[in-house]
Amino acid sequence: MPKALVTGASSGIGYAIAQHLLQNNWEVLGWSRRATGPQGMQTKRVDLRDPVSYKAALEDLWQRDFSPDLLVHAAGQATMNHLVLEPDDRMEESWQLNLRSALWLVRDLSRRMRVRDHQSPQTGLGTHPSGKLMVLFSTIAVPMHWPGETLYTVCKAGLEQLVKQAAIELEPWHIRINALGPGPVDTPLWRSVPLPAQRAFLNSITPSTLTSMDEILAWLDRQIQGQETGQIQYTRGYSRPSPSPEASV
């Protein structure tokens, strides 16, 4: 049975992915602050903003001898605000959760996911035929340059660079790493955006629709079966002009 570690597994994209994997006979360990998730998932409480909490969860992974075939890093926090209005604590939190945690996970999970010369018999040499895969989440807001998304997209742009760089460094260990940048998804944050701004956002992408969870799950399935690495893909095209600042902030 292949194994997956899913961060942010208690809600949103992380929850949906964990549930999808469980339905497809994966063993899933979910990391989240609430330590909840779909039925059948193992859980571990972790706050990825906190080095102590993260380190404890990592140690728990070693003690379980849990070597993931798949890492899905879905934990994250989207924000919308004009850069000049961003307080220090929100900047710190965004960096910690949206980028530093990804750096930590890729660095440290590589040690668990690489095909090891001294693998213990119960762990095996990876149980999924397409090998080891790391999946991170960016946002279509990175190439769109939407106003109000500076802090969030700076972190996500860093994450995209992490994917491109790490793909090269992890390739000798047969670990692939890719990222998906979804368009707007129906979340509480999206619903808090004024309707004119929602329209402006959607009119700047093609097709001009929200990204569904089914699209994200289908993309994940293609990644699991595929061979690509270092790829950043978006759920929507973005050939149209960006909305004006007045329309979205």
Binding site: Q63, R111, Q119, P172
Partner: protein, 112 residues
Amino acid sequence: MNDASPQPPLSIGSWFMNQIQDYLVRRSIPLDLESGMDSPLYGAGALDSMQLVDLIMFVEDAYWADYGQRLLLANAAAFSAKRSPYRTLGSFAEFLDIQAQIQAQDGTPNHA
């Protein structure tokens, strides 16, 4: 790991040498070890940087498999040292010994 895991030996030089030889055979790397612990490990004519990273991971895995203790050998202590602890077999073995003792006292390993 469980309590039945063997404890690390007081001196791990011979264990380390066995790991190096095992690694070089597995990776088909023709590194000259005739100088024993003085043999150059990293740098001109020896391992390149990616091979060194691979070796560090290999030794960490082997230590976990043999002794049930997790080590991080690529840490701040290694990178802030005036002379690289990876430069020769002997310097790496000495660094490994020290790190094993420090990290055994501290509990979980740390990148800091």
